[in-house]
Symmetry: C2
Subunit: 555 residues, 2 copies
């Protein structure tokens, strides 16, 4: 009986502790929201809300680190039990009763047994999986859902070039420069542990992804040139996906070889194959579920919204369960849903879903940034190596330059409306690192190399969000970027401006896919050849005729 | 290195498994939504959506139990390690590296080491804390937020009587009857373990709370008499709070005595003190945060909605962290926010918050009910004792009768509009047990008594939701309950119908509190005596004058 009682008190105690920890974060968010409101109210634009969230996180981190000391009795925590493996589940036999324990992780070797004082800090630390499974999906989905598709697809070629080729170039440039630095450090004796070439590449993959969050917020408010916005935003959204796949391919490729960690052409090709497979799988899955959410529950907005929400989330989970990348799937699911499914929703649900995802995105985003601030002090195995940090800053700068300038030059050879130098400079400058970089680097902090990467990444994120993010507005005025002209005259030209593969796709989409999957656009009976008449009539809903007739009357 | 690699693969493997498990639930919810739509579309009202969710949960439970067998190597799971305590955290020393393990719970004694086949089922089982911390708060908050306050406060006396006295009566009646049954079973030799008097009382406390979810849904659709609706709904919402506090008081009182488990008047009084303290603390906290969320961010609906959401959640967490009952706090927070804060929100945010909480409530509710269905097969230490189950059904029936009929008789002595016999029969019949009962009984399933309670509770919930929930509509027609008259003529009478303490409160609220806390109602300058003129002017916002002037013009 006594054991059971201790059991209960343990549960309720840890429950109260958990509540208090969560409360800290909610208070942080509340504070951030109030300050954001104050800033918006006073039209103070120097510091962005994400930067603000980070500052508050930092402050709380300092307080938790140096202010609070929780006394704890060691005897309750440590038990000498020498076994020769570390399985996922441990059954402990206590005088006939079996207790189940789950593996939480490895305790850092250097610190050894100094656990008690860090207990509090460890409690505030989240499982990295939380970022990938709960916080990132709404952000990425919202990015896809609220994407201005017209401008996005007009610049799709350039965006793909920057996001795919650019990120890979940046990854390798950063990897090589870092390898140079690390080799030099090894010679000088500044390195406290192993740092292989694959670690350098991994660092390049982690740090190459630019962040859509801050870019989105700043450029959205300023109403900047739509093409520049589309380029920057499109690149930053897609390169998140590229970075995830690159880093997981490199991590998967790392254990494949023996301890040599050498660079093999064959393994590289294999990674590339994995990359293509995972990307196309995620893409297909996202598009498929996006199209599938084909709701006809127009009379019940609540059911409709709930279904929409669940389908988007299940896309993510399905992709993860299949071994694909959930974030990529959810991005394309968002884009497809905004393109097709959105037209099928009732007006009430259209508002509801938009607002819901806006809110989720807002909360998740601010949570991530305030957590970032918090980790600088609450994470326990930081490795700050001044030389590595300087090297990383140089590498990030050069990697970004090697992405933007050469690719812009090549793209300008083929583009009708060229990407000007002022645009290139802004793209160079606005390469902020944010949530995705953080999530990728916190995912695994087991080894010395990973810990050093994490600490350095954190500093780079802080620097870019505060300095580059805050400086974007002055930068835009300095570079004399014209503000947007969102008049109707531009709208009709989309079809003719894009390259021919996209023109064909546009026609196909407008004439066949849209009528098939939504109630908007011309009815299939008008676009299909007359021989397919019965089929077309069968596939067209009565609503589509109504919508089309109304449309023609208005025109 | 090899260890680190196994580590990584373990993480990614468990990650995929987690995704797949979550996917099962999301698919279940999607299926439920689609079927609900079909039912609503065809106006099929016999089976309610919560009952439907339970059926789908049952089916998936059967499939998981009997359909899928996951082979697993035992050597990876079990480790012989004999220690003499079971602390919350375990550090395991594997050749110089320290791994941290956290306590998950006790493995049932009978089953001993037959772990491998149940691994899959165990993965689908949630931590009971999830129900209390994540799923219940939105349901309860929504109940408070969408409460029809006019009818609620008109019947507040009767509601409080049913909820407080009624639940306590029901708890003791059920406890005593069960003690009789258990004693008889002990004599006959049908009992397989200990079952003390406090266990019987705990069972009474757990099973006494009626469920607002199903009542709300059925009566909302039928537009039944408003007073009956207010009585049933008010009772079911408040008695959740009473049941939580009763059961935690009994659980806290249990270990206070030694092994005797006898009934002491002194300890009972102590429990009552705890009860009052916790309830008033939670109440005060809920009201305080409800009033505090006093947003003036009208120009930014997103910020406003986010703040509103965070404040409601932090109420819950704050109450839990203080040792109060979060559910009670969140209920009163919802009521207060609907009464005061709602008036301060911009029209856009009013819609947003309503829709957001509606959606959260819908998802949480259906999730709980489908999970209930799932547990019947996935929970591993069910104890189905036929005699105990029969006894429990009899006790629940008698307990409900001992609550409704005597209290109605007493209340009718003082009420102007009497509670008719048909109303009493419907209240007797519609005493469904649902989410709260389930959450309370799954919270602790360590001992034999608790396991038997849990299994029996599950059956009672199934029976009441399917039979009583499905039979409510025929019951209402049979009892010839008139449908609601929601015309405006009733509205003005509220003030005069209530008892005098509520009339005083109503005046105070309308003249002073509402103007102070919101922009609605008469400005303070009109209601306060002239001597307080400067103070009143200082506390009244310009908007309040506008609103009031508009209001008078319309009248």
């Amino acid at each position: 009986l006594l054991l059971v009682l201790r059991f209960i008190s343990f549960f309720s105690e840890s429950h109260r502790q958990d509540s208090a920890n969560l409360l800290i974060f909610i208070m942080l968010l509340t504070l951030t929201i109030l300050t954001i409101w104050l800033f918006k109210h006073r039209r103070f634009r120097f510091l962005h809300e994400t930067g603000l969230a980070m500052i508050y996180g930092l402050l709380v981190g300092v307080i938790l680190r140096f202010g609070i000391h929780v006394p704890q009795n060691m005897s309750d925590v440590i038990l000498s039990c020498a076994v020769n493996a570390s399985p996922a589940t441990l059954l402990v036999n206590v005088s006939g009763r079996f207790y189940e324990y789950t593996l939480k992780g490895e305790v850092s070797r250097g610190k050894g047994l100094q656990v008690q004082d860090d207990e509090m800090l460890r409690k505030v630390t989240f499982d990295p999986e939380v970022f990938f499974n709960i916080l990132l999906p709404p952000i990425i989905f919202h990015a896809g859902y609220s994407l201005k598709r017209r401008h996005f697809f007009r610049n799709i070629g350039s965006i793909l070039a920057y996001a795919f080729m650019g990120t890979v170039i940046s990854c390798f440039v950063i990897g090589l420069i870092m390898y140079g630095f690390v080799s030099f450090m090894k010679v000088v004796g500044q390195l406290g542990g192993d740092f292989f070439f694959t670690d350098c590449l991994l660092f390049g993959a982690i740090i190459s992804a630019t962040d859509p969050v801050t870019v989105l917020a700043i450029f959205n408010e300023l109403k900047v040139d739509v093409d520049l916005y589309a380029l920057l935003f499109g690149e930053s959204v897609l390169n998140d996906a590229v970075a995830i796949i690159l880093s997981s391919s490199i991590a998967a490729y790392q254990p494949a070889g023996d301890n040599s960690h050498s660079f093999e052409a064959m393994a590289m090709l294999k990674s590339f194959g994995i990359f293509l497979g995972v990307f196309s799988g995620s893409f297909a899955l996202g598009v498929a579920t996006g199209v599938m959410t084909f709701t006809k529950l127009r009379d019940f907005p609540l059911l409709e919204t709930a279904l929409f929400f669940l389908m988007s989330w299940s896309t993510f989970l399905l992709a993860e369960a299949c071994g694909f990348t959930g974030v990529v799937a959810v991005l394309f699911c968002g884009i497809t849903q905004a393109h097709y499914t959105f037209n099928n929703l009732s007006p009430d649900s259209q508002d509801r879903t938009k607002q819901l995802f806006e809110l989720l995105n807002f909360l998740a985003e601010n949570f991530i940034f305030s957590y970032m601030g918090l980790t600088l002090f609450s994470f326990q195995s930081h490795v700050f190596n001044p030389m590595f940090i300087i090297g990383a800053f140089v590498a990030v700068f050069l990697g970004r330059a090697a992405n933007i300038y050469p690719l812009s030059f090549l793209l300008n050879l083929g583009r009708k409306n060229k990407i000007g130098y002022n645009f290139q400079h802004v793209m160079m400058f606005a390469g902020l690192r944010g949530a995705m970089t953080f999530a990728l680097s916190i995912r695994d902090t087991a080894t010395y190399a990973r810990q050093m990467m994490f600490s350095t990444t954190l500093l780079i994120v802080f620097f870019t969000v505060w300095i580059c993010g805050g400086g974007t507005t002055p930068m835009l005025t300095f570079m004399s970027i014209p503000s947007a002209m969102l008049d109707g005259s531009q709208r009709r030209n989309t079809k003719h401006e894009s390259a021919w593969p996209f023109r064909i796709w546009y026609n196909f989409d407008h004439n066949y896919l849209k009528p098939l999957l939504t109630h908007s656009g011309p009815p299939l009976t008008a676009t299909l050849p007359t021989c397919c008449g019965p089929l077309a009539r069968c596939l067209t809903s009565p609503q589509a005729y109504e919508v089309w007739t109304q449309h023609n009357v208005i025109q």
